[in-house]
Amino acid sequence: MKITRKLAKTLVAVLLFSVLLPGQLLIFSQERFRRNPPYPEPLLPLRFPPIESGVLENGLKLVTITRLNSPIVTIQVLVQAGEFDSPPGLSGLATVTTEMMLKGTQLMSASDIEEALDTLGIEFNVEVKADHTLFTFSVLEENLDQALNLIKSFFSEPSFPASELINVKRELYYRLLSNKKEAEKFGFDFFLKKLLNPEILNPGPIEEEEIKNISQKDVIAFHRRLIRPNNSMIIISGNLGLNNASLKVSQAFNRWVSRPVERSPLVRVENKNFEKVFFVDLSSKDCVVLIGNTISPINGQDYFSLLVMNQIIGGLTSSRLFLNLRETKSLAFYAFSDIYYLKNNGVFWIRARTSPEAAGEVTREIISELKNLTEFPPDPLELERAKTYLIGNFLLQLQNSEQLSQRLALQNIYNLPDNFWLKYIENIMMVGADNIREAAQKYLSNKPLIIILGKFNPEVDYLKDFNNIEIYNNKGQLQLKLQKGETVNENRRMRTQF
């Protein structure tokens, strides 16, 4: 009994202590769960909204994405024609033509169109790429019929008034000049041309001096030849299904006449060795370094491995290039990598902004990072982090209805399988460390294209790292060729010692 009482006392003390303990701990310490981040719950399954498709009588493909929770309808018209289709000497024709489509129809002036768009509350955007053009319009559901009626007139009844052509050309010209002032934009255009020429004559960038050559006749011909329903696709995202949309779109677009469309195919540009380095002499105090090569196209088997590889090397501020060049060595203001696709081709490129003194070191470090990827597989944590980012960010991007429509458009342009986006997460998950190394060996083993933009100074040491250097001016014209041992001045045709 005595023992029992003693035991009971002890038990009470223990119980009391255990009751008081959490409260006391809260005062002196913190709850346990605050110490570490929680484990994530299992990833919820991805479901796309209902997607249906059909083809109208004039050959226009129609896709609907039914979104019940939105009173705004997004209409995207994808035309398989872009700057690649602008003839030699007329670069910019695709851009000018698409802009002119909204500058007058048989019944409306440019001012009437502007007023109608504004009154209906239509927000719009036109994006001209190398291989396609995407028109995006957003409108309230209640104004959809009127909006379709207006939009169809841009495609089937444009009048291309000469008075507006002058304005469109002038605005584009000044826009391009202004873009050229940004070293990175100018550099990427230059990079694309050096990478893809001569196989692809016009991979997207526009020569501003060729704008003035574009005539009304050229614009009409371009529209007649390529802006055709049988070469296009309309994607409607909103609170309506295929039947309803089909009725509305066919009523509106039935006067858009189909014609045979002939486009020369974009050839595949193979990954190659670049023996020269290109320097663009710009009057800027910083230097921009661009490095890259071609990769397999989006429908190639390495797409997902390349996405993860890109993420590991330069997708984010926590990727290798940024950490090494900025955080550890303080050599660059930033350093990122990216992937760019056009039909039958892919481009992997790195961009870094640095000081002129550090440009050589930055170039060497980037080359070394690329080499590392070909030699060693990434560590498992780094790989998982890159994959988690890509999966999570993919989900975030899909929130915007235009993004899903755009992905469906890309599916059409690049002949991707129907379930390509639905299987995106699964395919990213399957990428392993060996896949990364294999992709790196395949696409990063050759000497990449190197472009340095900044104030040219022949005295800097790092130029001696390269055997062949070509110097261009800010218009992209060749000025000098430097070879180990001699200099060729392109303007004066003069050879001097280097």
């Binding site: 929680p38 484990y39 929770n69 939105s70 504004d118 309230l140 926590s318 988690t388 989900l395 975030l396």
Partner: protein
């Protein structure tokens, strides 16, 4: 920052509720924790994504005297680590999930927001609760942020030479420190901020009973309740503070039309500001429509005259800004020379007079209503983030969730006479100012 603040207010300030009329839109769920934290949950399972917005009822208005920029400094400090999160780790944690994040400070509110895959909701709540409970405020960290803000401010003066006139308009329109000072502070005012100021400010305002937490996405209310209670309920509430007394700005401006010469600019510009006094809540919707009629869109009156027809300005922007019980309308334009600037001033004055003397057309009103709806719906249905931001903004401003039917009825009742009455009631000649900015 400036663009963001403008944008945020243009989109959110006058957002009234049309929830019931939006197909598939459900009423959000609202609950309050024991410590006073208000939580709004909106379930949307269309994608496995969630957005979280934590809004605090504090902004530049609460900056102590001579310490302009403190609220803005706090926004930056909130990323410098807390008891269990190292400096800048907050950003890394979110980015590693593929998520996105940002923060913003306004006149009377501060927002922190993140969007992540829905399975990472716990992570955001853990991060936000940690910096609400135990922000790392040390002399070293505060000094580092001060230095960064002072450098940014000095750089902005060179790189964005027009920015200081944007804030100067506020000073003229609101001749009172708490209403009129620059949100970012000045190098001197930021330099005067001490660790003690920061600690006191943090303990007073960044507390559960001064905050609204909005969560929108693929979540269930019950699960959210469980997680929010776990992470936030043990954070102590702070003593309630008295709201600041409003100021009477009736004095006539002594500096309403100024010409300033600036050696840092090369293109002449004009800043215009107009203050609306004692704005009634019921009139917010009308103000928004007035904004569309005057300045928002290519066919708005001022854009049409100044840019399209008379080609006086080659850049024009503007919009409404919230200052509690006041509103201001600010316009910025650039032109070729002083003659054009003077003509622009004349046109702006003419258009305001016209609003008070002539009825707007039915077409103009329809256009304004359509654009209003379009922008409003985009906010509400565009993404989980825009929805969560709207709900937080609304709750911090009005203290409740919107009354749908009342608001919708208000919109349909607006007619051309409503705009005329509004203009006659609020547009006062003594409440506007011009600053012509000319190259030296």
């Amino acid at each position: 920052m400036r663009v963001f603040i403008r944008g945020l207010f243009l989109c959110l300030i006058l957002s009234c509720s049309l929830f019931g009329q939006i197909s598939g839109y459900n009423q959000p769920n609202l609950f309050t924790l024991k410590n006073g934290l208000k939580v709004i949950v909106y379930e949307d399972d269309s994608l496995p994504v969630v957005s979280v917005v934590l809004g605090y009822g504090v902004g530049s208005r609460q900056d102590p005297d001579d310490k302009a920029g403190l609220a803005f400094l706090m926004q930056h400090l909130m990323f410098q680590g807390s008891k269990n999160v190292s400096p800048m780790q907050h950003i890394n944690y979110i980015q590693n999930t593929g998520g996105e994040l940002n923060a913003a400070t306004t006149f009377d509110k501060t927002y922190f927001y993140e969007t992540v895959p829905a399975n990472q909701l716990g992570l955001i709540l853990w991060l936000e609760s940690d910096r609400m409970a135990s922000l790392d405020i040390s002399e070293v960290t505060v000094n580092r942020i001060k230095e960064m803000l002072i450098n940014n401010e000095n750089q902005r003066r060179i790189q964005e030479p027009y920015a200081r006139y944007f804030f100067l308009v506020d000073e003229i329109l609101f001749p009172d420190y708490s209403y009129g000072h620059a949100l970012t502070g000045t190098p001197d005012s930021v330099d005067r901020i001490t660790v003690e100021d920061v600690l006191a400010f943090y303990r007073k305002y960044y507390v559960p009973n001064n905050a609204v937490l909005s969560i929108s996405g693929d979540v269930k209310v019950a699960k959210v309740k469980e997680l929010v209670t776990r992470y936030f309920e043990t954070i102590s509430r702070a003593p309630e503070f008295e709201s600041q007394a409003s100021v009477d700005f009736r004095s006539i401006f002594s500096s309403r039309d100024q010409v300033m010469f600036d050696s840092l600019i090369s293109i002449p510009a004009l800043e215009f500001g107009l203050r609306f006094d004692e704005v009634k809540k019921d009139d917010y919707l009308l103000f928004r429509l007035l904004e569309y009629i005057l300045i928002n869109g290519k066919r708005s009156r001022l854009y049409n005259r100044l840019v399209n027809k008379e080609r006086i300005a080659f850049f024009l922007s503007g919009g409404l800004e919230d200052r509690g019980e006041y509103l201001s309308l600010k316009i910025f334009l650039t032109a070729n020379n002083q003659v054009m600037i003077d003509r622009a001033k004349k046109i702006i004055s003419e258009e305001f007079t016209r609003l008070k003397t002539e009825m707007i057309s039915e077409k103009e009103l329809l256009r304004a209503k359509t654009k209003y709806k379009m922008d409003y719906y985009s906010q509400l249905t565009g993404s989980n983030l825009s929805r969560a931001l709207s709900l937080t903004e609304f709750y911090l401003r009005d203290g409740n969730l919107p009354d749908i039917n009342k608001e919708l009825a208000s919109l349909s009742r607006v007619n051309t006479y409503s705009i005329l009455s509004l203009a006659r009631k609020y547009l006062k000649d003594e409440n506007y100012c011009f600053i012509s900015i000319l190259p030296r």
